[in-house]
């Protein structure tokens, strides 16, 4: 197999030959990526949109997962090029096999919220591994200049432009980035761009209705079971919520409605064995945080970080429900949450459009 050439600054002075697609993998070397000859390797994804136009490429692949996850599967590139080059899709987002307690921020917040907003069942809207066409690159260059892969509004831009979107199983299990960061920073990083996107695309997401599945490529995803099942201990999570309830109630009261605060009051009184966070309450809470973010009821950084104890309460409730359940039950549990988000969307829309008419 021909070694892929590296686009570097030293070589950029000479005109480069057009290629089919570019591959950006910041965690891999060209030798590790093993890309075919008709693809070209770009080390940094920051200038990828410009490179696509310069090289007249039909699209690009971004592989942002850790190197350990990417190195084991030689067919990764093919999995991502096939939907773009041969099936005519404009955005192919990775969908991974993972465990029931993996990617919890995505399960609790990002996936249900994005699905309710944009009407598409994209299981990992913030996936680090995806491919996209030059058409989407052009849309982003015009509508969101300066955006970069891994930081740009790819999904919302594709939905707004009416482009074709699919999911692809890249052929490896999802691994969390090794960078050690605290949970409140992870939540702020996950939700901040999502809420900001809601403001930019308010006219778009208020239109869509019931969500639709998207075409899937690659092997079917499955729930990965742990080698040795272990008991779930949610005591620390419940304690974190109790501490948050005691100290942050005044902060939450600036954002949440009285009804949601009452639900939290009831939740705080539950014993750990009976700890259940109703989906309706969680949905309303997330929507109210989105509204608070938009209305700048407080510093946005403070708002997002104050969600941490509430998120841990959801995790505790979810863990109690699914820790001994079968994979079907886990899937149904998450599907139920997503449907609740979709059912609660009219509440979000009405409060978004008429914020002054809210009367608790």
């Amino acid at each position: 197999m021909a070694q892929p050439s590296i686009v570097s600054e030293a070589a950029s002075s000479a005109p480069l030959a057009p290629v089919e697609m570019l591959v950006a993998a910041p965690n891999l070397t060209p030798e590790e990526i093993r890309a075919p000859a008709h693809l070209d390797f770009v080390h940094s994804p920051d200038n990828l949109l410009e490179e696509i136009q310069t090289r007249q490429a039909r699209g690009a692949i971004v592989l942002g997962s850790p190197a350990s996850a990417l190195s084991g599967s030689p067919s990764i590139i093919a999995n991502f090029t096939h939907p773009i080059l041969e099936q005519g899709f404009d955005l192919a987002i990775g969908r991974y096999s993972e465990g029931r307690f993996d990617g919890l921020i995505n399960k609790a917040l990002v996936y249900p919220l994005t699905r309710a907003l944009y009407g598409l069942q994209i299981h990992y809207p913030s996936a680090l591994d995806f491919s996209f066409s030059s058409k989407l690159a052009d849309v982003l260059t015009v509508n969101a200049p300066g955006s970069t892969p891994l930081r740009g509004p790819f999904l919302s831009a594709a939905v707004a432009a009416g482009l074709r979107i699919c999911e692809v199983n890249p052929g490896f299990a999802r691994e969390a980035p090794k960078e050690a960061r605290d949970l409140s920073s992870l939540l702020a990083d996950a939700l901040g761009p999502l809420f900001a996107d809601m403001e930019r695309n308010a006219s778009l997401w208020q239109r869509s209705r019931a969500s639709q599945p998207v075409p899937q490529f690659g092997a079917a995803v499955e729930l990965i079971e742990p080698e040795q099942p272990s008991d779930v201990d949610i005591s620390k999570l419940v304690d974190a919520f109790a501490r948050g309830y005691k100290d942050l109630f005044e902060v939450w009261a600036q954002v949440l409605s009285p009804r949601t605060l009452l639900d939290l009051k009831k939740l705080a009184r539950l014993a750990p064995t009976d700890f259940r966070f109703p989906d309706e309450s969680w949905t309303r809470l997330v929507y109210e945080f989105a509204l608070g973010h938009r209305q700048r009821l407080m510093s946005r950084e403070h708002l997002l970080r104050s969600l941490t104890p509430l998120y841990l309460a959801w995790v505790a409730s979810y863990a109690l429900e699914v820790h001994e359940a079968s994979s079907d039950v886990v899937d149904r549990r998450l599907e139920r949450l997503c449907l609740t988000f979709e059912a609660g969307k009219p509440y979000l829309v009405s409060r978004w459009r008429w914020p002054d008419r809210f009367n608790p």
């Binding site: 990617g103 304690d239 100290d247």
Partner: protein
């Protein structure tokens, strides 16, 4: 002798009447200026009330954490407080203008000193407002950060930071106004140092277990399996 007494009385009466006659136009001007100021203040307050209600000033103040200023006068909303400040400021300005019309050395000096003091007063008010906003921002950040880090004294830390900043802002405002002098400096140093010492003791004593657990984890490299059970990303 009676002639001399009568002459002295006549002269003193003449001086008083002359003095009163010379000051009368100024007094009249003062009264007219005050009446005009009253009318202008009432009109401006009406205009101000409509504008502030139009922009929902009270709820914005509550959002920015400035509603606490109404604790000074609980029966007044922020809009009413602003209106009263504006009203009495215009009346005060009118009084100064009228006092200047009296054209006496005392009133002239008083007016000059008042206008010289005004920029310092405005700067001190701006310092207090900025200090209040900064105190609330920092205290809320400390509270949220402390709760998320499972720090048991998060609320104490938050309150301590808030009062540190408020005390600093108040001392800077008083220093700017030139009020109190060394007494304010000394009181600020004692208060500030006391708050810092109390916080240091609370944090130091309260974090003993946290620090020792953290060190144990680093040296023994034992990972609590429950901490790894939930992967958030």
């Amino acid at each position: 002798m009676w002639d001399e007494i009568q002459h002295a009385l006549n002269q003193s009466a003449m001086r008083v009447l002359t003095g009163a006659a010379s000051i009368l136009p100024g007094l009249l001007a003062l009264v007219i200026v005050l009446l005009f100021s009253f009318g202008a203040a009432a009109f401006l307050c009406w205009l101000l009330r409509r504008s502030l209600q139009g922009i929902d000033f009270d709820s914005r103040m509550a959002r920015w954490g400035l509603a606490g200023m109404s604790n000074v006068a609980p029966s007044y909303s922020p809009t009413q407080l602003v209106m009263r400040v504006v009203f009495w400021s215009i009346i005060g300005l009118g009084f100064l203008l009228g006092a200047a019309a009296l054209d006496t050395p005392l009133t002239t000096q008083m007016v000059r000193q008042t206008f010289e003091f005004l920029p310092n007063l405005l700067a001190a008010i701006a310092l207090l407002i900025a200090g209040n906003l900064l105190a609330r921002f920092l205290s809320r950040g400390a509270l949220i950060g402390g709760v998320n880090m499972n720090v048991p004294y998060a609320r104490l830390l938050s309150v301590g930071i808030k009062w540190l900043v408020l005390v600093l802002a108040a001392a800077m405002a008083l220093d700017h106004l030139g009020i109190g002098g060394k007494i304010v400096d000394l009181a600020f140093a004692i208060l500030f140092g006391g708050i810092v010492l109390a916080l240091a003791l609370a944090v130091g004593l309260g974090s003993k277990d946290l620090v020792s657990r953290s060190l144990e984890r680093q040296t023994s490299r034992v990972i609590d399996e429950h901490e790894e059970q939930f992967r958030h990303v």
